[in-house]
Structures are given as structure tokens and as C-alpha cells.
């Protein structure tokens, strides 16, 4: 039995124009069934291009991609039966209600009216929009609108969901509600391919993730595995002037934000030793393991578009 929900092999996409842009440079990604896999990357990294190829909206230039064993180029109709997509920066249609979104989109899957009504109801309850189902989207908050779109995808009851930055522009509370919905979907056995540039999101919801930068995968694994890729595993945050703290600005292990400095060290012992040293001097300092964001910044070299 095939264990992979999504698999790409040397996937390349070149946008031809006045200047050719190589958006994907041979991407190899494998998403297992029933996992939430995140493509994490800065803007313009190629995340959306990858998702659009996998969801049969865009042709690749070369390479192969399969969803549940179906080729996205030669078997798009088979792929489409098993996927649902939430596009990037999607706005809701002001005159639609959450119910209309879920009901009509489910009907397009070829199910009967009673079945469409039942699955639409289930999806809207799952995203906690059942009570608001008959309100027009114009009257909903940003988070509610986003959940209305996710419900439309969820109601389709397919195996693989592809969500392109579903929480961009949402506040922390709304974002966490979406995360809860996504994890619930995974617990029900669904596969989710998610893109985001929000580190906390990738760390909190992903079973595994890939960091994609300038069209290439630069790291892949569970959030913990990716964090272990960093040579410096701990960070010490200390306030004060670099020189008075005995640090140099061009030190590769120090990142400066105004009066705050993050010093990256190899392990916990070294971090504790450094914190104690600062505290003895009367300088405020604290330590923690490196975050995914720390690793991400190291891997992409601080370059974003």
C-alpha cells in the first residue's frame, strides 16, 4: 500500500518572460498520508508555485509530481477527485454565506443534495461557524471568513488538503482557531500540505516541514529535527551595549536588535555559564533553546525577497 500522499521528484518550474525566472530548482518532497507537512519559506521562495503544480493548476517545466499515486500532469482529473485547495490571499465573496460556500462546493464534488447538506453542516460545525452559517461574508471577521473557506474545502471530504498561507493576515486568536481545525483534520486521517512564512505556525502545527528558499529545499524533517540542524542549539538574550558586554558586532554568533542581543551558543551548559556571567555583572540575561525562526534565518542567510 502506498504511504505517500504527495511526492515530487526533481520538480522544476521556469516562468518564461523578459527574464526567465527559475521558481523551482528540482524540488524533491515526500508527504506521508495522514501528516501535516508544511512548506516554510520567505516570500517568493517558490511555495505557492509548488502548491499550484501539485494541485494541477499549473504545469511544471520538468520533473514529476504525484498525488496519491496519480501524476499531476497526465492524470489531473484523478488528482482533482482527491484534493481540495485553499488559495493564497483568498478573499470571501461578500454576498456568499458560509453555508453557500460549503454547500455549493460540496455539490460540485458530485454528491447528492442531502449528502452535501450533511457534509456542509459537519464542516461548518468543525470550524465553529454553524451559528454564523447564514450571515453574509461581508459581515464576518477576517478569521471567520478564512474559516468559511476552509470549511468549503473541508466539506469536500477528500483525502488531501492544500492550504496556501491560510492564516496570513489573521490575529493570534483567529490563527490559533485555524490551527486547531487543521490538527483536528489530521487526527481524522486527512493529509495536509500547508505553506506558511509564519515560523510559530510551522513549529506548532507541522508533523514535518521543509524549508524552501529560492526554489530549493534547504532543510527537511520534523520541527525538532530541523532545529537540530543548527550548530548553536541555545540562545542567550541579553540587553545592553555590545562593547560594554564584551561582544563584537561582527561576531557570527551574535544578532543585534537595538539594545537587545541574541547570542547563539553550542549547548545548554555554555548558555547557563554565559547567563550567570552576565547576571554577575548586573546585566539582564535569559536563555532558551533556539527557535525554528533562528534556524530558518541561519539557513536562508537572512535573505528574503
Amino acid at each position: 500500500m502506498m504511504e505517500e500522499a504527495v511526492k515530487s521528484t526533481n520538480l522544476v518550474k521556469i516562468y518564461h518572460g523578459k527574464e526567465d525566472v527559475e521558481a523551482l530548482k528540482g524540488i524533491n518532497i515526500s508527504v506521508k498520508k495522514g501528516e501535516l507537512f508544511t512548506l516554510l519559506g520567505p516570500n517568493g521562495a517558490g511555495k505557492t508555485t509548488f502548491l499550484r503544480i501539485i494541485s494541477t493548476q499549473l504545469f511544471p517545466t520538468s520533473g514529476e509530481a504525484h498525488v496519491l499515486g496519480y501524476d499531476v500532469v497526465t492524470q489531473p482529473n484523478d488528482v482533482r477527485k482527491h484534493i481540495a485547495v485553499v488559495p493564497q490571499d483568498v478573499a470571501t465573496y461578500a454576498n456568499f454565506t458560509p453555508w453557500e460556500y460549503s454547500y455549493y462546493f460540496t455539490m460540485l464534488r458530485g454528491v447528492s443534495k442531502p449528502e452535501a447538506k450533511a457534509t456542509a453542516e459537519k464542516a461548518l460545525k468543525a470550524v465553529e461557524l454553524w451559528d454564523l452559517r447564514n450571515r453574509t461574508c461581508a459581515t464576518l471577521s477576517g478569521g471567520e471568513k478564512k474559516r468559511a473557506i476552509i470549511a468549503a474545502a473541508l466539506a469536500s471530504n477528500v483525502e488531501v488538503f492544500m492550504l496556501d498561507e491560510p492564516t496570513s493576515g489573521l490575529d493570534a486568536v483567529a490563527r490559533r482557531k485555524v490551527w486547531a481545525v487543521l490538527r483536528e483534520m489530521v487526527e481524522q486521517g486527512k493529509t495536509i500540505l500547508l505553506t506558511t512564512h509564519i515560523m510559530e505556525e510551522a513549529e506548532m502545527v507541522s508533523d514535518r516541514l521543509a524549508i524552501i528558499h529560492k526554489g530549493s529545499v534547504v532543510a527537511e524533517g520534523t520541527p525538532e529535527e530541523v532545529k537540530r540542524l543548527a550548530k548553536d542549539r541555545f540562545r542567550v538574550v541579553v540587553e545592553g551595549n555590545l562593547k560594554s558586554l564584551g561582544l563584537t558586532e561582527n561576531n557570527n554568533h551574535v544578532t543585534k536588535f537595538g539594545n537587545k542581543n541574541i547570542i547563539y551558543v553550542k549547548d545548554e551548559d555554555e548558555a547557563i555559564e554565559l547567563v550567570e556571567k552576565f547576571l554577575k555583572k548586573g546585566v539582564k540575561a535569559e536563555t532558551a533553546p533556539v527557535t525554528l525562526e533562528d534556524v530558518f534565518v541561519k539557513l536562508v542567510g537572512g535573505e528574503t525577497d
Binding site: R52, A84, V85, V90, Y104, L108, R109
Partner: protein
Amino acid sequence: MNFKILRDILIITGLKSMPDLKRQPLILLLVGLISSLPLFFIVVLGGNVGLGLIGAMVSATTFIGMSAPIQEIAFDRYVKIREMIVAMPVHPMSYAIGIALAPLILSIPSLVFFGAIALLVGGLTIASLFGAIIAILLCWASVSSLGFLISTYLQKASPYTLNNMSNIIGILLGFIPPVYYAEEVLGNFSWISAVFPTSNAVSLIRVYSGKLSLPFEVVIVRWLILILTTIVSIAITTFKARWREP
């Protein structure tokens, strides 16, 4: 065309028309008003109201038939319904016909209104109604399929360009050729009427209403041109429209 394609056409038509119809009923009035603008000048300037009413019926369907798919692309930049549907098991034909049918439903009250007045003032006759409906539907099918074809090639164009283009093409097809005025006005160039599906449909309706006299063979040729235009438009759209981006 299988059952799923037909069913999806109805679902997409409902999706694209029912929410607007329920919550923005003024849109019905707007469609009618746009098409009746030239009619206003015809009445004021003492022109032939009967001819103008037939023109209003044809342009009420074709103007939005052409502009709907193009404007749809502009609007879809934000709501991305097409993007979601492309990734679903939905045939492009269902989407194309569905989004073209939705505004046709919105224009039905205008069609009925203009048709009723045309019957009252003698622009249309009961006998010519069947021919008129067929001609209008063929014209709508050819124009809206071309609109869809154009829209699939303009996915990167700005919303302003798309809006301008849909209006320009709509005016070119709905107002410039002899749709609101008699083709005899063009003198030796009256054959131009046959080139555009809009004016061709209008001429055929006028023939059946007794407002235009054309030899039987010419009428047959005009019908053939209209049918051929429709078939070619649909065929080009079917084979050349870009459902999936290259």
C-alpha cells in the same frame, strides 16, 4: 456531454447568480437600464422604437455574455473561486457555461420586459418569438464562449485592463454594428451586419418581425453564419482556452 457536466453547469450558475439575486436584487434593474440606454435616445430622437427594443434584447444578453467571463477573471483575483474550481473535478465547459449563464439569468427580467414592450409596439410578433429566442441564444453562446476564451488569456492582466477590455468589446459587439439601428443605414456595407453575431441575430429577428426584407437565400445564409460562428467560437474555446496555466 455527460450528466456531471450538465449538473455542474447548473450548480455554478446557481453559485454565481443566486447569492446576488437574493441580496442584490437591484442588479436586475441595472442590467435592464444599461441595455435600455440607447433606447432612451431612440425614443427622444424619434427613431424606430421597435428596432431599438430588439437591439436592447440582444445587447442585454450579449453585452454581459461577453463581459461576464472577462470581469469574472478580474473579480476572481480576490475571491479565487475559479482557482478553487480548477483544482476540483469540474470540467472547464461547466465553468465556462455556468459563469455565462449566471448573468443570463440576471438578464431574463429585462429580456421579458423588452420582449413584452416589443410585442406591444409591433417590434416583435408572436410568430417571430421562437426565431428570436433561437437567434438570441446562438448569439449569446458565441459571444460568451469568446469572452471565456479571451479571459483565459488575460489572467495576468490588471483588473483595470480587464474591465476596460470587457467594456470595449461589449460596446464593439453590442452598440457599434447595426444592433440598435437598421442595417440599411450602412448602405452597400449592410453585409457587415452578418459579420457580427449580435447584428446578425438582430437582423434575423427583424426579418421574422417583418421589419427587414431579405431574400430567402440570404436569410438561410445568415442563419448558417450565425450557427457557424457559434460552433467555431465554442470549438476554439474548447480547444484553446487555458484552463490550466502553462
